[in-house]
Amino acid sequence: MNTMQLQEGIRDINLTYLMLAQQMIKNDRPAAIFRLGISGDLVDVIDNLTPSQIIKMAASNMLLCRFRFDENLLLNLVDDFSRNRKMSQAHAAILMSAHPVEELA
């Protein structure tokens, strides 16, 4: 994979993420805050982006979304899946909801 393809992939994900996030927020704001894990202020910012702003934001060489699973949570999930135990998804959701949301700086 060369640099061009890499950057194209990142831009694709950025655009998809922003459009999906905006759609989720417009459908159901509280649910979007839960699923995206970002604060109400940040949700409002994304909600008010115009299409041209979204395209400009997406055209970055860095990913806009951050990995939400921290080490403990990830280990827990891997552990649960390898033991093929039920409830691992519910467990992940329980742990995730205890996490703080991404706030505007």
Partner: protein, 182 residues
């Protein structure tokens, strides 16, 4: 809250419809909306095609303590408190949003029946407000789980980190396993 305005009444009807579709009982509808009993009954019959079930509501805090109900109840309560804290919703709106998200979590991923009914979820919120139940952090995974307020839970370990030996091995689970093999 006054429902004398047309808009206010329409909002109340909307809330009642959401609750009835989720399977709420009459007592809960009367408590959470300002509509009259007759209108609620008519709404209920229109949506469900049958009269609401009568009788007592499931009134027990012990139900939330057994293994599977506890995990489902904890999942719902964690979502509910997340929404109240981060999304700025409250009251019956928070209940509806949280219950929707709970249903999505359970049905979309686990392919499981929603163990926690909306009526129990509503009761649980009241138990929390009354201080009878609270959320206890598990010392192993750090997740928060429903527990009795009066219990000594200093080194609380949740039912997922340490499942009881017979957890999940119900008759229904065995039947579905044999059905998959066949």
């Amino acid at each position: 809250m006054s429902i004398k305005t047309v808009v206010g009444e329409a909002q109340q009807v909307g809330i009642a419809i959401d609750l009835i579709e989720m399977g709420a009982r009459m007592q809960m509808l009367q408590e959470e909306t300002t509509l009259s009993r007759e209108r609620l009954l008519r709404l209920y019959k229109e949506i469900r095609g049958e009269s609401p079930s009568k009788g007592m509501l499931p009134y027990s805090t012990d139900w939330f303590m057994s293994w599977q109900p506890n995990i489902h109840a904890s999942l719902f309560m964690d979502i509910y408190q997340f929404l109240v804290k981060n999304a700025g919703v409250e009251g019956v709106h928070a209940l509806i949003s949280a219950y929707r998200l709970y249903l999505d979590e359970v049905q979309g991923i686990e392919n499981d029946e929603p163990v926690l009914s909306i009526t129990r979820a509503w009761f649980m919120i009241r138990f929390f407000k009354a201080g009878m139940l609270r959320l206890e952090p598990c010392i192993e995974c750090g997740g928060h789980f429903v527990a009795h307020s009066g219990d000594l839970n200093e080194n609380y370990v949740c039912g997922i980190c340490h499942p009881p030996s017979r957890a999940g091995k119900t008759k229904a689970a065995r039947l579905s396993a044999t059905a998959q093999l066949a």
